[in-house]
């Protein structure tokens, strides 16, 4: 898939993030996407963005929303203006986010946060501990 299309898809996923997160980090994430494109692969980065989308909408606590401060909304007459209180999830936003996330998952099956075929961090430590203990025992006279 051409980079331009994947880039647009990634940008679309970022645009569906909550306003407070998007305003703070979307430009940085776009830049990282451009840099990490070759090393990490488009599918992996898109999968990460899709998971991030779900994480930000579903797991973000009210405290995070308060940290973000007032939300900026677009008005018909005067451009954008601040609105008090945390931004709210609308059905339209939720539907669009779910649709795009599902599409992204179908197009690019996410390999997970861990590299396939390898162990997770804690499992790796446990195996290392076991290996050292076995080696110590085998070296005993």
């Amino acid at each position: 898939m051409p980079q331009l299309i994947v880039r647009k898809l990634y940008r679309a996923l970022l645009r569906l993030h909550p306003e407070c997160f998007r305003a703070s980090f979307a430009p940085e994430m776009m830049r990282v996407f451009d840099e990490a494109w070759i090393e990490y692969g488009a599918a992996w980065l898109l999968g990460d963005a899709a998971l991030s989308l779900l994480r930000q909408w579903c797991l973000r606590s009210p405290e995070d929303a308060q940290l973000a401060g007032p939300d900026a909304r677009f008005g018909l007459l005067a451009g954008s203006y601040p609105v008090g209180g945390p931004p709210h999830l609308t059905m339209a936003k939720l539907s669009a986010a779910l649709l795009l996330t599902l599409t992204s998952f179908l197009l690019f099956p996410y390999p997970g946060a861990y590299v396939p075929g390898r162990m997770a961090g804690r499992a790796h430590v446990q195996r290392g501990v076991r290996y050292v203990a076995q080696r110590n025992l085998s070296e005993r006279p």
Partner: protein, 116 residues
């Protein structure tokens, strides 16, 4: 303000470890995490910035802007509080390793472990 204390998640541990040596930008943290874990653990931008936001809210990490090729770029810096939390986590992990070694050794001597 949210507090972050051990036990830390893998992502937070690796982010703090990456920043322990020097200040890094987002992609630098991703690369350092991959290098530190020997390629076994990778952090994507979504997970990275979600955790950075939480770490900054807990004042364990600070951000600043630097010029990079004529463009402003954010870099992240480990605070003293962040270094203290990382130190606590490393001590906790060292205790886990120590306890794990002694228990496995005891299991070997009593014949409780067997080869599969």
């Amino acid at each position: 303000m949210k507090t972050i204390a051990p036990p830390l998640s893998n992502a937070v541990t690796y982010i703090l470890l990456a920043l322990a040596e020097r200040d890094l930008h987002g992609y630098g943290i991703m690369q350092e995490t991959t290098r530190l874990s020997g390629g076994e653990y990778k952090i994507g931008p979504g997970l990275l910035y979600d955790n950075l936001r939480a770490l900054m809210a807990a004042t364990l990490v600070e951000e600043s802007e630097v010029e990079d090729g004529g463009e402003a770029r954010r870099i992240y810096h480990l605070t003293q509080a962040g270094a203290a939390v990382l130190d606590d986590e490393l001590k906790r992990l060292a205790e886990v390793v120590k306890a794990g070694r002694s228990r496995l050794a005891a299991g070997q001597t009593t014949g409780r472990t067997r080869e599969v």
